[in-house]
Assembly symmetry: C2
Homo-oligomer: 241 residues x 2
C-alpha cells in the first residue's frame, strides 16, 4: 500500500497559517500543561470545556456561574476555580460540569486552529486512544505544538514525535513532512528517559520555584487519561471511542 496520507508538525500557533488547510485534523499539543489538564478533566467526567483566548472571556463565564480555569505564565490567576495543573481537574467536582478555560499557550493554539476541519487535544495522557482515533479518521494530520509564547518548545515536540512514531507503528498509510521526520528522530533519543531528556529545556527555568515537579511527572505518564477531546463549535467534548 502506498502512503496516501500525511502527518506534519507545526511548531508554533504563530506559524499555523502557513500549514493551515481545510482538510487536515489538527492535534493541539500543550504537554505542560493545558492539554494534559483538559484530558484529565474529561477523564474525570467533565461534560464540556470552553477554551477561550482571553482572561476576560473566562471571567465572563465565571460570572455567569460556570466553573472557570485561568493560567498565565504557569500561575493560576486569582478569582478562578482552577489553573492549568492536571491535579486541579481530578475528582468529583468536575463531574458533569462545563468549564471555561484560558491558558498562556494551549488555548491560544486552539484559537488559531479553530477553522480547521477538526481540532482534537493531545497529550501523553491520551496518546494511545488519540492515535487509534486519528487512524480511524483516515485523514491528513497536523500536529500543532503550542510552544511557549509562540516559540518552539521541547516537550510539545517530544510528544509530537511520540505520536508520529506510534502512527507509523500502527499504520502504513502515512508519509511524513520534514517537521515530523525531525521529531521522530528527536523522540528516538528522548523516549526512554523523557524527564532527563527535558532537563535542559526552557521549562525548567520557567517553572523554577513553582513546585511543579509533581505536575511534570504526571504529564509525562502515558495513557493515564484515555479520552479524545474534540472541538465541536465552541465546546470541547469527549469523542465516542
Amino acid at each position: 500500500m502506498n502512503s496516501t496520507l500525511k502527518i506534519d508538525a507545526c511548531f508554533s500557533p504563530y506559524l499555523y497559517p502557513v500549514y493551515a488547510d481545510t482538510e487536515s485534523i489538527v492535534v493541539v499539543i500543550d504537554v505542560f500543561r493545558a492539554t494534559s489538564a483538559i484530558c484529565v478533566a474529561f477523564a474525570n467526567g467533565a461534560e464540556k470545556i470552553i477554551p477561550v483566548a482571553s482572561v476576560e472571556e473566562a471571567m465572563q463565564y465565571k460570572q455567569q456561574g460556570m466553573l472557570a480555569g485561568a493560567e498565565r505564565n504557569a500561575i493560576k490567576l486569582e478569582g478562578f476555580d482552577f489553573g492549568n495543573s492536571p491535579y486541579d481537574y481530578m475528582g468529583e467536582h468536575v463531574k458533569g460540569k462545563t468549564i471555561a478555560l484560558t491558558t498562556t499557550n494551549g488555548t491560544q493554539a486552539i484559537e488559531a486552529a479553530r477553522q480547521a476541519y477538526k481540532v482534537v487535544i493531545g497529550s501523553f495522557l491520551n496518546i494511545d486512544v488519540l492515535c487509534d482515533w486519528l487512524i480511524k479518521q483516515n485523514r491528513n494530520v497536523l500536529l500543532l505544538c503550542s510552544g511557549w509564547k509562540n516559540k518552539f518548545n521541547l516537550e510539545d515536540s517530544l510528544f509530537a514525535g511520540a505520536v508520529t512514531q506510534q502512527m507509523l507503528d500502527k499504520s502504513k498509510n502515512y508519509s511524513l513532512g520534514d517537521g515530523c521526520l525531525a521529531l521522530k528522530y528527536l523522540y528516538e533519543i528522548g523516549k526512554d528517559k523523557p524527564t532527563k531528556f527535558l532537563n535542559y529545556s526552557m521549562h525548567k527555568q520557567r517553572f523554577a520555584n513553582l513546585h511543579l515537579k509533581k505536575d511534570i511527572r504526571y504529564c509525562l505518564m502515558p495513557n493515564s487519561a484515555p479520552v479524545v477531546p474534540v472541538l465541536e463549535g465552541k465546546f470541547l467534548m469527549k469523542a465516542r471511542l
Copy 2:
C-alpha cells in the same frame, strides 16, 4: 564561567517576528542552495551580492547591466545569469562583480531579518569560519532557517544543529534555547551520514527529476567556501577574518 550568551533557532522566516530582537546576530541558513551559492560566489571573488525579495527587483538590476541570479521552485528563471546552484557561481566570471540575487527561500529570510543587529550567511561550506567569527562577536545568536515556503525543512535544521554543536565545542559561553537543543540532538543523529539522513526529507520530492544530486553533495561539503558574508545596508559583503 557561566553561560552568558544564548543561541536559539527559528524554523521559518514567517516565525521570525516572534524571535526578533535588536541585539542578536542572525545567521540566515538555506543549505539547498541559496546560502551555499552565496558563500561560493564570495569564495570565487565576488565583490558584493544584493539579495532581493522579488524577481522584478532582480530584473531591474539585470537591466542596469549587473549580473543577476533568480530561482523559484528550484529552477533558474529565464533571462537571468544564474540560478541558485553553487556551480553557477564558480569561476572567474564572478570575480570583482556585484550580483543581484533572488531565491524562493533564502533571500526571503534575509529580507525578514533585515532590521537585525547583524545578518550573516551560513552553510556547511563556511561552517568553521562562521562559528569562529560568531564567537568573536560575543553576542547572542539566532539561527534563522529559511525552510521551504515558510515550512520547517530538515536540511537547514541539520546545519543549524551542526553550528550549535560547534559553538558549544569551541566556547563555554553559550546556553541553548529549546529550538537549538532539539537541533543539537538532531545533528547527533545525522552528522555521520548527512546525505542518508536527509534521504527521506521533502527536498527529495521537490528536487526529483531536476538532476541536483551533484549540487546536494556539494552543499554538504564542510568548509569548501570559507568566507563570512555579512549584510551591510543593501549589500552582502565578505567580512574580514
